[in-house]
């Protein structure tokens, strides 16, 4: 009677091959029938081969083993004698089939139509008429009249027929499997190339520079000792003129974020780009030139490992702040992201005027040039470049950073609206591509994800934010007339000592051995302390690791709740960009 009950549907896929060997064992199995062999080779063999070459993500390969349970191999396997199974006893499914009435009808191979589609084969094999094959499916087979013992028509129909709900359930399950598999493939092929170019971008430390990560013993980014992260914001136009007349790039934003996992306290130190300090091996320069000087040796690219290395080393040497990780941001990335989401719509609260806005994005060739802003008040649409101007201007409010922060909140809120629109899913690959080339970090994606989640969870007002402008520094001019910012060491040392828990290691070694005040005529000192940047190896991310992280990012954020879904960590990477562009933790509240 059990065979007549609704539960007499084909054994579940998992029940078909409970003893299915590991993938490696499958390669030794030789199904006697061509169809089964070719199917398995397609479903499993290819996946194995691709996995071995790291070309296929694990997540995509997962649905494949399920196929044999549904596909042609399923019913053909039933015909195999026990001796044909290489691991001894036949599968449990075959044992079950040999017991009385474990399954509605056991037709002979001749009566059973071939399965045209792998996933639907079980239905066709039991019901018969679905495949249009005159040789394999005689008309009478539907009612069982063409073979098998004679039975009552009504009774037989009951036995053979799957309930509608079961068919729908399995069909929906199949669609879901297809979607999950498709989504996994989509994740990998769409985001992996971009993410690979963003995270895990290791930059070798300069000779003599201490690696603070060595003592962490691989501890989680939010556990263990304090971590310091250097955020470098840079334009992507060639502005800095080298001694040979070539151009390279500056880092306009230099921020060190410090996190003490034990106390969950966060500090944020903004160092003015015009800080006139010692760049190791190059003498006295503005801080933003360290990136350019380091970049010369690595080919003058917008993102330059040498620029990162020298900026990081400069901070460590001059102030005694060890840097665990870095993140480099290209301002153009922000512009592109805003443009990709179709711009942002805001109500500009008052006319924005600024005669000294940095002319550092676009086609300007003047590294210290200014441009003028006039953004009229009222509701309006801002494209990427105007949105950047709106959030970056420092001279448009009497209330300084408060006004700037309010403007940033407007743009962030508008951006949030755009990012929460379902339409954005279609644009995520483009956003990932926008970030590609404009966000670089030596952190792994999972580190960025954890870090940004942590940062979002804390009150921005609790962050100890210090900007090293007055009274920590004063503006002045060099003999050549160049405007610079002179550090006030007596004020700086106590602050960074406390913020970074440095104790006596806090320093202010800002006097260089070689004073070079000419921006255009800069040349390295005779014995540079920095490792030859051209030799710095690039450590690319492991693609399997990235694929795994992409999947886990999506799942973690899916189950994390809240109103944000961090699809493949793209939102976290976007946060990293916003944090650097806005130079404010409030940026993470999107």
């Amino acid at each position: 009677m059990a065979g007549n009950a609704p539960s007499a549907a084909p054994p579940s896929p998992s029940g078909q091959f409970p003893d299915t060997p590991a993938r490696g064992l499958l390669s030794g199995w030789n199904p006697p029938q061509e169809q089964a062999a070719s199917h398995l080779q397609h479903a499993n063999g290819s996946a194995l081969a691709e996995l071995a070459t790291n070309k296929q993500p694990a997540v995509q390969a997962q649905p494949a083993p399920i196929s044999p349970a549904h596909g042609p191999g399923w019913y053909q396997n039933l015909q195999q004698p026990a001796s044909s199974w290489p691991w001894g006893a036949p599968p449990r499914s075959q044992q079950q089939l040999s017991s009385p009435a474990p399954f509605p009808v056991q037709q002979s191979p001749a009566q059973r139509p071939p399965a045209p589609a792998a996933s639907l084969a079980p239905f066709y094999s039991s019901q018969g008429p679905a495949p249009q094959s005159s040789t394999a499916a005689p008309a009478g087979s539907r009612n069982g009249s063409a073979g098998g013992p004679p039975r009552g028509k009504k009774k037989q129909r009951k036995k053979r027929r799957f309930p509608m709900w079961a068919r729908v359930l399995v069909a929906v399950f199949g669609v879901i499997l297809l979607l999950v598999g498709g989504a996994a493939g989509y994740l990998y092929f769409t985001f992996s190339p971009s993410v690979n170019n963003i995270v895990g971008q290791q930059v070798q430390r300069a000779r003599g520079e201490e690696d603070p990560n060595a003592s962490r013993n691989g501890a989680d980014i939010l556990s263990g000792p304090r971590i310091n992260i250097l955020l470098l914001g840079s334009d992507t136009d060639e502005k800095f003129t080298n001694a040979d007349g070539s151009h390279s790039y500056l880092a306009q934003t230099d921020i060190v974020v410090t996190i003490d996992p034990a106390t969950k306290s966060v500090g944020m130190l903004s160092i003015p780009r015009d800080f006139y300090i010692n760049v190791p091996g190059y003498g006295m320069h503005k801080l933003d030139e360290a990136y350019a000087l380091g970049g010369v040796a690595s080919g003058n690219a917008d993102y330059s490992p040498g620029g990162v290395a020298l900026s990081r080393y400069t901070i460590e040497q001059d102030f005694g702040i060890p840097i665990n990780y870095y993140a480099w941001i290209g301002l153009t990335g922000f512009v592109q992201v805003i443009n990709t989401v179709g711009g942002v719509d805001v109500d500009v609260t008052h006319p924005i005027t600024d005669d000294n806005y940095p002319d550092d994005v676009g086609n300007s060739k003047d590294p210290y040039g200014y441009m003028r802003l006039y953004i009229p008040p009222g509701p309006q649409h801002l494209d990427g470049i105007t949105a950047l101007e709106y959030v970056r201007s420092r001279h448009a409010d009497l209330v300084g950073d408060f006004g700037r922060s309010a403007r940033q909140q407007q743009v962030l809120s508008a951006l949030k609206t755009k990012l929460n629109n379902p339409d954005i899913i279609g644009k995520l690959p483009t956003i990932a591509n926008d970030l590609n080339g404009y966000v670089k970090t030596d952190m792994q994606l999972s580190d960025v994800f954890k870090l940004m989640n942590f940062a979002r969870s804390i009150n921005p007002n609790s962050i100890n934010k210090v900007i090293l402008d007055a009274p920590y520094s004063s503006t002045g001019t060099l003999p050549g007339g160049e405007s610079v910012v002179f550090p006030n060491c007596a004020k700086i040392v106590p602050v960074i000592s406390k913020m970074f828990d440095l104790g006596s290691k806090a320093a202010c070694n800002i006097q260089g051995s070689t004073g070079n005040t000419s921006v255009a005529g800069v040349s390295p000192a005779s014995s540079p302390q920095v490792a030859p940047v051209a030799e710095i190896p690039q450590v690319s991310s492991d693609s399997l690791q990235t694929a795994s992280q992409l999947a886990s990012m999506s799942m973690m954020s899916l189950f994390a709740g809240g109103d944000q879904y961090d699809f493949s960590g793209i939102h976290s990477l976007l946060d990293l960009l916003l944090l650097t562009v806005f130079e404010a933790p409030q940026a993470l509240q999107v």
């Binding site: 040039g369 309006q380 649409h381």
Partner: protein, 416 residues
Amino acid sequence: MRKKQTSKNISKLSLIWKPRNSSLLLLLLLAFGLQGCFGIGGSNTSNTPGTKPITTNANGQQVGVNQTQNLFKGKIYFTIDHNLWVIDPSNNAREITHGGNLYDPAISPDGKWIACIARYKDYSNLIYLSTTGNSAHLLRSGNGKYYQDGPYVKSTYYWYAQPAWSADSTHLLFLSDFEKEDWYAATGENAPLLDLQVFSISLNNPSKPQDVAYASFGDGGDRDPSYRPGHPNEIVYTHYAYDAATQTQQVIQIFLEDVTQIADHPGLYHPGSPSSAFDPGIAITSPKDEDLQPAFSPDGNAIAFVKREASGTMGIYIMHVPENVTATPNDPKTEQEALIPYKTASHILSGQYVSQPVWSPDGKQLAYISYDNSTFDLWLANINYNAKTGAYSMQGSPVQLTSGGIDADSRPFWTT
């Protein structure tokens, strides 16, 4: 017979509708559901019924114009991607200029000229051109350069914005910061007055501008100037400032002013910080509210304006113009009287990012920009005036005139 036919149809349906098909239907429903979830499909085209596409804007949206005839009288000028456009009651849309980066078109009362702003990097020019789009004339150029002044970097670039014609088509009001350098001489502080102020020029002698209304330092200056119809000496504008006490809170008010006051009292008035500025403007809206973008009715007796009501929500209101308050500015009693009409202002409508109201030439309609479907577009509202109560109200529902997105940072203009 009919009954038989029906049962036959049902029979046919039952042939089509087999239980097996329900799974197909479920799958279809699932597919449609997922399509909705993932936002697949759709288009960037304007799907507003009854609209005729006229162009595709920089955001990739198809801009359309409502094809319902005679929704309004006269012509409405506006900009799309800062190209000048005009539409007429037959809903014919015409692009007047292309590629000029133009803002704030204003048609002269004699119908011959369009004054507007041509914007460039670092500066803008005040120009006027014929209503056909030809014969452009430069009135004032903002072009200049950066220069080093000791430790300071200064510039001789200027902004010009929002021209407005006098009733006789001989003078223009406009905004500019061309006096920013004067701040150095006046105060000794090396901080330029970047805030835009109101000036006027004669078309016959544009090189000699007249100061009309001063700005408060630091909040961006003045906006939305226009002459009062029937009162050639009175103007209205929005004044952006910080509060005098703490200089941390924004105060955004609409001011009425006698255009001759500064000219007639040289040296008396001057721009300055919120606590030190002294000007002949008189506030006609409350400092507790944020009111902006005033527009005179054609008879000059009422002002439509925008009030910021809540985050993102803005309302259009209409108030009567206070009379006889501009002759005695800075008089406490007059200042109180000037605020009385505001207290009885009529609320017309509210919505997200509602802005830039302009009156129809007959005073029976308002055009304004509203934010709908993620785009800024022109809408029309019929206005009713109750002579007994003195209240204004909206008649019927607003009608959308354009779709797909026009420029919201450039005020439209409505003429006969």
